[in-house]
Amino acid sequence: MPTSNRLYGPRLRALAIATTVVLLGAFVLAAFSAPIEADQGFSQKIFYVHVPLAIVTLCGFVFAGICAVQYLRSGDSRHDLRSYTAIHQSLIFCVGTLLTGAIWAKASWGKFWVWDEPTLVSFLIVFLLYACYQPLRFSIEDPERQSRYAAVFAVVAGAFVPINFAAVRLADPLIHPRVLNTAGGDLPDGMRLPFYLAIVGIALLFATLYRYEMTAKHSRAQLRALRRRLGEDAGDGVNRSAAPRIAAS
């Protein structure tokens, strides 16, 4: 697709290169230069993946909620596409957060799942809620209504996240004595740089995947439009889709 190449290609390539460089740098620093944590040993290194994943996931959901509000205000389907793509990618990152969290829990407490880790429990609940997004879209046929309802869901779910975190955290008065504050506020000096680099790297990874999916969606829309212009059957009639339909630019 020459058009989509012109629109997205160079930036996508630059993003991918930047992601690789920053992530590699962060992980090399984390593995070799950051101090080994006394209690947990090397397994604590997963912190440099887990926490950035969690932060980026939440930012992605917030971004999706903002795009959804913009869609509801303007009716412009590009905002819906942004919201959809952000939730899609954030869901994948959310799974990553849960998996790395489980591995970390196994390494430090010997169990894959512990209920007295409120942040992780909250992530599970948030995942369960956002996992409804695709089925919801899929079960609404009219594309315009699908976008509208999905946007309402994205806004409601976005507001749900903080109150859910509050409820889960309050439910557990005995928070595990943590070596590290998840917010990273009181990190030892050697850990700070790789940690912040890892956040930037994971955010760049999110941006790359996000842009890649957007490019793919646009290309598909253009392909469909070209097919229709050629008089071919573009498959609009039979294929139900959970993804937003966008008009080819």
Binding site: I140, F160, N164
Partner: protein, 232 residues
């Protein structure tokens, strides 16, 4: 004959009166919810192999039962309007769309309270170990009302979304349950001390605060978003 567009509250009263009349005439939802909760107690008796429950177990049994019964009500909330075109009938009237949200949430709240008037005493008779005193019951009523308000608002929102989908029952359940989790957490934690063996414990204010915050937040959201769910 004089006609003036009715105020939101007047329109909401008209819709609510219609809802209650329909339910009185053909009491499907309430009967189903009440039967469901009674059966759930029997299931819990055998599944837990316990004659009585107390403390956090009692709170858990009660809230799981009430929540699942509420799901039945949520699933049915807009069905008659969709099947019989009542939604369009409402949309053709010169009234604020929020009147429908208000009326539906009030109807759901009324259903929840009505079912709980049966289901909670039944729970005390069938399963609850130590019965709390009068003060304990009063505190339970406060928690129930705060939780019901949240369930009614979020349930109305979910029901309005789900009724337009092809898989109404599935969407209702998978969406409402996670959304209601904060209510469940707060309500069951708040009720657990009331059912404690050692006599009714104090009611933790923070749970009431969470419930109140939840009710307020989702009421505002529903108010702002409901129009988008009924317009076409």
């Amino acid at each position: 004959m004089s006609a003036r567009p009715p105020a939101t509250l007047a329109a909401a009263r008209a819709v609510l009166a219609k809802e209650l009349r329909l339910e009185r005439r053909a009491p499907q939802t309430l009967v189903a919810m009440a039967l469901y909760s009674s059966t759930a107690y029997v299931v819990f008796h055998f599944a837990l192999a316990r004659d009585t429950v107390d403390g956090s177990l009692a709170a858990g049994v009660l809230w799981v039962t009430l929540t699942l019964a509420a799901l039945l009500g949520i699933g049915r909330l807009f069905v008659s309007d969709r099947d019989e075109g009542g939604l369009e009938g409402f949309l053709l009237a010169p009234v604020d769309r929020s009147a429908l949200l208000l009326a539906k949430a009030a109807a759901l709240l009324a259903f929840l309270v009505a079912v709980q008037l049966v289901a909670v005493p039944l729970f005390a008779i069938l399963l609850l170990g130590p019965a709390p005193g009068a003060g304990g019951w009063l505190r339970l009523v406060l928690v129930l009302l705060l939780a019901d308000a949240g369930i009614a608002v979020v349930g109305t929102l979910v029901a309005a979304i789900a009724v337009q989908t092809r898989a109404r029952d599935l969407i209702t359940s998978i969406m409402a349950l996670p959304l209601l989790l904060p209510v469940l957490i707060a309500a069951s934690r708040a009720t657990a001390p009331l059912f404690a063996e050692a006599g009714a414990g104090a009611l933790a204010g923070r749970w009431l605060a969470i419930l109140g915050l939840y009710d307020l937040l989702f009421a505002l959201l529903a108010w702002a978003l409901f129009d988008y769910l009924v317009e076409d």
